[in-house]
C-alpha cells in the first residue's frame, strides 16, 4: 500500500495545528520561509549590516556576560549540562555546544527569538545563573542578529591582534579617571572598537578600580599596578604606574656600575622612590658569600678583607668566590632543586651519577645551553649516565612536560592540561604535544627512545601529536627530543635564557623580575622588562655562563644597596630600592651555625628549621645550640682555654657570625654585661644570642 495524503482535506482545516505546504519542494520552501517570518524582539538596536561572526562577535559577548567563566559553563564539567570552553578558548567546541548539541535545541533557527541561548540568560525560563542578559542590550542584539543570520560559524575573519590603550601609563595623580579603549584588528583588514566587549580586571581591586558602567580606571594607591584586559581569547596587560610624592633627588649622582643599575634607577626615578645607600664592605662580604657559596667567611678572612685597601677588592672577592668549591656545591644544590632531584633510597648509584654530573657542569662552568641539551637528549643507564636521571624526577610524560616548561621556559603549561590556559597562549595541543615528546622516552633504569610511547589527548581521545610548544607539529618519525632541544636552545628562543637569568636574579636579589619564576606570561609582566631582555642577551652573548650573569648581578650597585629602608622606599618590595632581608635557607643556616660554633652537630639532620614558635623553642631548649656552644673543641671552649680576653672573643664571634666588628656602643654594652657575671656563662649566653638574632639568621 502506498501512502496517500488527502491534501485538500488537510489544507482546509485551518483550525488544525498541522498545516501542509505545497507538494513541490522549491515552491514549498519559499512559501515556508515566508510564513515563518520572525517577530522581532522589541526595542532593539538597529541590526548591524555586517555578518556576525561566531568567534569574534558571539564568544566575546558570552565572555563579557561571564557565561564561559570557570564558575559557570566554563567549568571543566560545564554547568547544568551545558559546557563552554574556558573564556572561549575553543570556539569550535563552543559552536558545537551551542548549535549542535542536544539535537540543536539551544538555537532555534526557525524562530530565532525563541532560542534557549537567549531565553536562558534573560531568564525567560529558569536559569541557574539568574538573569545575566538584558534583552534590550547590545549583547542581546548581537546574539539575535547572529541567530537570524543562521547561527553560522564562518571563520572568514581571524583576529590578528588585540590592543589596548593605554597599555602603559604613568598616572598624573591618584584617582584620576583613565579611559580604557580596546581595538581588535582582523585578518581581512577590519578594525573594530571592542571596548564594550572587553573585560578589564585589576589584579588588585583595592589599588585600581574599574567603573561599573564604563571602562574608566582609577588608581588609588601609589605603585605599579596591572590591569588585565580580556577580549575573545586574547589577554593583554595594562601597566599603570602611580609615583609617590617624593622630594627631588640627584639621580645623576647614583652610581651606575653596569647596565643593571641603569635600568633599575630609571624605574625608581619614574616612581620617585629613593634608593637606600650602598653597604659597607663587611655587609657586602657577608651577603655575597652567602649568595654565591652558601657559607660565611672565616673571621680571619673577614679581618683581611676589611683591612684590604685595594679598590678592586670586591671584584677580586667575587672572582675568588666564583671559583671556589663551595660555589660549585652551593649552585649544584640549586640545580638539584630546580630539576626536582630526589634521592631515591636504593638508587645510590643513580643518585651519585646525577649529582656528580651536575657538580661537574657547575665546576667547569658548562654552558647552560649544552647542559639543557644534554638533559633533554640523555640516554643510557642512569647508574652511569647522570643526566639520564632527568627522566626520573617525575612520574610520567605529562609531569615531565610540566617540569620542562616550568624550568626551561618559565611557563606553567600544566594549566593547559584540562583546558587552554586562561591567561596565556598555551593550548591543550601545546601541553599534550609536549607530553607526547616525552612519551617517546622509555623512563626505566636505562633511558632510551621509545617510538611507540603515546599520551592520549583528552579532547580527541587519541594519541596526542608531538608538537613544539606554540610551534611546529612533529612527525612521528623524527627524533622529537632532538627537535625540542634544538628549538629550546636556539639563540632566538624567547623563553630559555630569560627563564634562567630570572632564576639567578631571584637567588641573589630575593625576588624574580618575573614572579613567580615559573609563571612567565604576557599578563604577568616583568617589573623591568628591558632589564630582563638585556640580562638574557648578555647571558647568551657570554656562552650561557651562569657564573657570568651572577658576576654581573653581584657587581652592580643595585645588589650592594642597604636593606635598611628609607621614608620613600619602605613599602617597596619589587623595585630594588633597598635590599630584601631574606631568611637563610635551612641548610645554609645550619652550616653557618656550625661554622660559628666550631663543632659539627653529631646529627645535623635532626635540626629541622621550622617556623616561628617551634623554631624558637628548639633554639631555647633543644640541643641544636645548647649542646654545642661550649662543647669540647668549640670556638668558645678553645678561646677560653687559650685564655683570650672577653673583648677579643666577642670580636671574633662578631666577625665569624656577622662579618663585622662590634661598634663602640655594642662593645661597651657587652663588656658591661660580661662584668656582671661569670665570664664563661656570659659568653655562652652571648654566643647563643648571636646565633638566635635576626642579623645572623638572615641575609641582609
Amino acid at each position: 500500500m502506498t501512502a496517500k495524503i488527502d491534501w485538500q482535506r488537510l489544507t482546509r482545516r485551518s483550525d488544525c495545528h498541522a498545516r501542509y505546504q505545497s507538494r513541490y519542494a522549491v515552491a514549498w520552501y519559499v512559501v515556508l520561509l515566508g510564513q515563518l517570518a520572525v517577530v522581532p524582539l522589541k526595542a532593539q538596536e538597529s541590526p548591524p549590516s555586517r555578518t556576525i561572526d561566531f568567534t569574534n562577535d558571539v564568544i566575546p559577548v558570552l565572555t563579557k556576560m561571564g557565561c564561559n567563566a570557570g564558575a559557570c559553563h566554563g567549568a571543566a564539567l560545564g554547568r547544568g549540562g551545558f559546557r563552554l570552553s574556558l573564556y572561549g578558548g575553543d570556539s569550535g567546541a563552543d559552536y558545537d555546544s551551542i548549535v549542535r548539541q542536544v539535537g540543536g535545541r539551544r538555537v532555534n533557527l526557525v524562530a530565532p527569538d525563541e532560542s534557549l541561548l537567549l531565553r536562558k540568560p534573560a531568564e525567560l525560563v529558569e536559569h541557574g545563573g539568574g538573569p545575566v542578559l538584558d534583552i534590550d542590550s547590545n549583547a542581546a542584539g548581537t546574539l539575535v542578529e547572529w541567530l537570524r543570520q543562521g547561527a553560522l560559524r564562518d571563520p572568514h575573519q581571524q583576529l590578528d591582534r588585540f590592543e589596548v590603550s593605554p597599555n602603559s601609563l604613568v598616572v598624573g595623580s591618584l584617582d584620576d579617571a583613565i579611559a580604557l579603549e580596546a581595538t581588535a584588528y582582523f585578518s581581512d583588514g577590519a578594525r573594530r572598537d571592542v571596548t564594550q566587549w572587553t573585560i578589564f580586571t585589576p589584579e588588585d581591586p583595592s589599588a585600581v578600580s574599574i567603573g561599573e558602567t564604563a571602562p574608566i580606571a582609577r588608581v588609588h594607591r601609589a605603585g605599579r599596578h596591572v590591569v588585565v584586559a580580556r577580549y575573545s581569547t586574547e589577554v593583554v596587560p595594562i601597566e599603570l604606574v602611580a609615583p609617590r610624592d617624593a622630594s627631588p633627588r640627584q639621580w645623576a649622582d647614583e652610581p651606575r656600575l653596569n647596565f643593571i643599575d641603569v635600568h633599575v634607577l630609571e624605574k625608581l626615578r619614574v616612581l620617585e622612590i629613593s634608593p637606600s645607600p650602598l653597604i659597607h664592605d663587611g655587609t657586602y662580604l657577608r651577603r655575597v658569600s652567602i649568595d654565591l657559596t652558601g657559607k660565611l667567611p672565616s673571621p680571619e678572612f673577614v679581618q683581611r678583607f676589611l683591612e684590604d685597601e685595594d679598590p678592586d677588592k670586591r671584584k677580586k672577592l667575587v672572582e675568588l668566590l666564583l671559583q671556589s668549591d663551595e660555589f660549585t656545591s652551593h649552585w649544584e644544590r640549586h640545580l638539584e632543586d630546580w630539576l626536582h632531584f630526589r634521592e631515591h633510597p636504593g638508587e645510590e648509584l643513580a643518585n651519585k651519577a646525577y649529582r656528580d654530573w651536575l657538580t661537574e657542569q657547575v665546576r667547569r662552568d658548562a654552558s647552560y645551553q649544552l647542559l639543557a641539551r644534554e638533559l633533554i637528549m640523555a640516554s643510557g643507564d642512569r647508574h652511569v649516565v647522570g643526566a639520564a636521571s632527568f627522566y626520573d624526577a617525575t612520574v610520567g610524560p605529562r609531569e615531565q612536560a610540566e617540569l620542562f616548561s616550568e624550568l626551561f621556559m618559565g611557563c606553567r603549561l600544566r594549566c593547559a592540561n584540562c583546558h587552554n590556559h586562561p591567561l596565556d597562549r598555551w593550548t591543550q595541543n601545546d601541553y599534550h604535544g609536549l607530553a607526547a615528546i616525552f612519551a617517546k622516552v622509555d623512563r626505566g633504569r636505562v633511558v632510551s627512545d621509545d617510538p611507540d610511547g603515546v599520551v592520549i589527548h583528552p579532547t580527541t581521545r587519541r594519541p596526542a601529536v608531538a608538537r613544539i610548544p606554540g610551534g611546529d607539529w612533529l612527525d612521528g618519525d623524527e627524533n622529537v627530543r632532538q627537535r625540542l632541544a634544538d628549538w629550546l636552545t636556539d639563540r632566538d628562543n624567547p623563553f630559555f635564557a630569560k627563564a634562567i637569568v630570572n632564576r639567578l636574579w631571584k637567588q641573589t636579589m630575593g625576588r624574580g623580575l618575573v614572579e613567580p619564576v615559573d609563571d612567565f606570561r604576557s599578563t604577568n609582566p616583568a617589573t623591568h622588562p628591558r632589564l630582563l631582555n638585556r640580562l638574557a642577551e648578555d647571558f647568551v652573548d657570554n656562552g650561557y655562563s651562569l657564573r657570568h650573569t651572577l658576576r654581573r648581578i653581584v657587581l652592580s650597585a643595585t645588589y650592594a644597596r642597604s636593606s635598611d629602608p628609607n621614608q620613600t622606599n619602605q613599602d617597596d618590595e619589587v623595585f630594588y630600592s633597598h635590599a630584601m632581608r631574606r631568611p637563610l635557607l635551612p641548610s645554609v643556616l645550619l652550616g653557618a651555625m656550625t661554622d660559628v660554633i666550631g663543632v659539627a652537630d653529631s646529627n645535623a639532620d635532626r635540626m629541622m628549621v621550622t617556623t616561628g614558635l617551634t623554631h624558637q623553642l628548639s633554639l631555647i631548649n633543644g640541643p641544636i645550640l645548647n649542646a654545642r656552644i661550649a662543647a669540647k673543641g668549640s670556638r668558645l671552649a678553645d678561646r677560653l682555654n687559650a685564655g683570650q680576653a672577653i673583648a677579643e672573643i666577642v670580636d671574633e664571634f662578631y666577625l665569624a657570625g656577622l662579618c663585622r666588628h662590634p661598634t663602640d656602643s655594642e662593645h661597651d654594652h657587652w663588656m658591661k654585661q660580661a662584668a656582671q657575671s661569670d665570664p664563661q656563662r656570659f659568653l655562652e649566653d652571648f654566643a647563643w644570642g648571636l646565633l638566635s638574632s635576626q642579623e645572623f639568621s638572615t641575609n641582609h
Binding site: 600544566r414 623553642l617 631555647i620 645548647n626
Partner: protein, 437 residues
C-alpha cells in the same frame, strides 16, 4: 598527594611563602598592622573560642552530612543513610553517635564554591577570600588571633597537628599570628629546660637577642615577628600551667577512648587536645584530619572489619561526638564554636575506581555550639547533590557568619603592612542569620 593547580601556586610555593613569613620577613611589610576595632558587635554573648575540624582533601558531602538515599546507586554510593534524633534529617550510617546529637548540630548543605583544586579551595574556605595574586589573605584563625589576645601565655592560634600547609596562615598579618603547630604525636617539643640552662639564663639570653636585634635595626624592620615568637616561647616554657595544656597523659584512659585513640588520622586526640587548649583560653584551634581526598573506594571510609580503628567516618564520629559531648558536659559548648569542613565536596557520581572526584559546586559544613541553633539544616542541595537547590552559601558568607558568631564584625577592617584596609570578610559576604539561636 601533591596536587598541582591551574592558575596559581603549587603547594610548594605556599610552603615557601609560609617559611618566609614565619621569620617575619614576608612579602608584605612587617608589623605595621593596625588592629581593627570591631564596631558594634552583633551578638551579646559571642563565642569565646573556636575549634575548626578540618577534613583535608575535601570530604564527600554525599557520604557524610548530605546523603541521598533516594538517588540512583551510582549517586547514592555504597554507604547508607541513618536517621538522626531530629525528624527528617538523615546523615551517613557511620556517624551513629553524631546522629544522636543532631539536635545540637547545624548543617549547611548548600555550600558552594567555584574552586575545585586543593590549594585554592583550602584558601577560600580557610580565609573566606578567593586566592589573589595581589594579596595573601589571613586564615580565619589568624584573623581571630590578631584580634583576640587569648588569656594566659598560650599562643592564640594553635594547629593540632600541623598539616601540609596550603595557605601560609597569617597571610598579610604579622607572622606571630601564624598557627603554632603541634607535632603529629600531639606533643610540643622543647618545652623543658636544657640541662644547666635555668630560668635566669633564659631571661638573659632573651635580653641578649633583643640587644642584637636592637643594634642591627632588625627590630625596626620587624618589630613584632621574631620578637613575638621569642617572647611567646619564653612565656610558654616558663609557665607550668601552659605546658600542662599540651600534656595529654593528664587525661584518663576512658577519656582517650571516648575521643578515639588510634587511627583515623588522629582526629580524636586532636579534638581532645583542642578541648584542653580551649579550656585554657586559646581562642582558635584547628584540628587537622587527612585522607579525605577519596578518589577511589569511598567504601573504605567505613569500618572494614570489626576492630578497624582507622576508618575515617567512625573516627570522625567518635571524635566529633566526644568533643561536643565533653564541651557540653563542661559547660563550654555555648561559648565554643565547632566547625567541621573541608575544601570542597565530591562528585555525585561514583567514578570507575569506586571513588569520587573533586566537586566544589555543592558541599556541606557542620556547625555546633557557640550560639549556633542546633537541629537544623540550612539550604539544600538538589536531588543528586550536584548544585545548591536553595539558599546557596559561599565560603565568604561562611566566614562572615563565623566571625559574627565569634563577636567579630565581619565588615571591620584589618590593615596590611603598607596600610591598606582589607575587610575581615569580603565585601558582599552575607551573614547567615538563621544559623544563630
Amino acid at each position: 598527594m601533591l596536587s598541582r593547580c591551574c592558575d596559581g601556586f603549587a603547594r610548594r610555593d605556599f610552603v615557601r611563602v609560609g617559611a618566609l613569613t614565619a621569620f617575619g620577613l614576608g612579602s608584605a611589610s612587617f608589623g605595621r598592622m593596625q588592629r581593627a576595632r570591631a564596631q558594634g558587635l552583633t551578638r551579646k554573648h559571642p563565642a569565646k573560642s573556636c575549634i575548626l575540624i578540618w577534613l583535608d582533601g575535601g570530604p564527600s558531602h554525599l557520604d557524610t552530612f548530605d546523603p541521598k538515599p533516594e538517588a540512583p546507586s551510582e549517586v547514592r554510593g555504597p554507604l547508607e543513610a541513618i536517621r538522626t534524633n531530629v525528624a527528617g534529617i538523615q546523615i551517613n550510617e557511620c556517624l551513629e553517635q553524631t546522629s544522636q546529637m543532631m539536635d545540637r548540630l547545624c548543617l549547611i548543605r548548600s555550600m558552594t564554591s567555584s574552586l575545585g583544586e586543593h590549594n585554592f579551595g583550602t584558601h577560600y574556605l580557610m580565609t573566606g577570600y578567593k586566592p589573589s595574586p595581589a594579596l595573601d589573605y589571613p586564615t580565619i584563625g589568624s584573623t581571630v588571633a590578631s584580634l583576640r589576645q587569648g588569656s594566659g601565655v598560650l599562643p592564640p592560634f594553635i594547629s593540632a597537628p600541623g598539616f601540609d600547609a596550603t595557605v601560609s596562615g597569617n597571610g598579610f598579618l604579622p607572622a606571630s599570628f601564624a598557627p603554632f603547630v603541634v607535632g603529629d604525636d600531639f606533643r610540643v617539643r622543647n618545652l623543658d629546660f636544657y640541662n644547666d640552662v635555668d630560668l635566669d639564663r633564659i631571661h638573659r639570653r632573651r635580653e641578649i637577642v633583643n640587644a642584637f636585634d636592637r643594634f642591627s635595626k632588625a627590630q625596626e624592620a620587624s618589630p613584632t615577628a621574631g620578637d613575638t615568637d621569642l617572647a611567646r616561647a619564653y612565656d610558654l616554657i616558663t609557665s607550668p600551667d601552659a605546658k600542662k595544656a599540651f600534656d595529654l597523659s593528664d587525661e584518663s584512659t576512658q577519656t582517650h577512648q571516648r575521643y578515639g585513640r588510634n587511627g583515623g588520622n588522629g582526629l580524636g586526640q586532636g579534638c581532645l587536645l583542642a578541648r584542653r587548649l580551649i579550656e585554657r583560653g586559646v581562642p582558635f584551634v584547628t584540628v587537622n584530619g587527612t585522607g579525605w581526598d577519596t578518589h577511589r573506594n569511598v567504601i573504605q571510609l567505613k569500618k572494614r572489619f570489626p576492630s578497624d580503628q582507622s576508618a575515617h567516618l567512625p573516627s570522625l564520629d567518635r571524635a566529633l561526638s566526644a568533643l561536643i559531648g565533653d564541651l557540653s558536659d563542661r559547660g563550654l559548648l555555648d561559648e565554643t564554636l565547632v566547625i567541621v569542613m573541608g575544601e570542597f565536596g565530591r562528585t555525585p557520581k561514583i567514578n570507575p575506581a569506586g571513588g569520587r572526584d573533586h566537586w566544589p559546586n555543592v558541599f556541606s559544613v557542620l556547625l555546633a555550639g557557640g550560639g549556633v541553633r542546633g537541629g537544623q539544616v540550612i539550604g539544600t542541595s538538589d536531588a543528586y547533590g550536584e548544585f545548591p537547590k536553595d539558599n546557596p552559601v559561599t565560603p565568604s558568607d561562611l566566614s562572615a557568619t563565623v566571625f559574627t558568631l565569634l563577636g567579630i564584625d565581619p565588615t571591620a577592617e584589618l590593615h596590611t603592612g603598607d596600610g591598606r584596609p582589607v575587610r575581615i570578610a569580603p565585601d558582599g559576604a552575607q551573614v547567615i542569620e538563621t544559623v544563630m539561636g
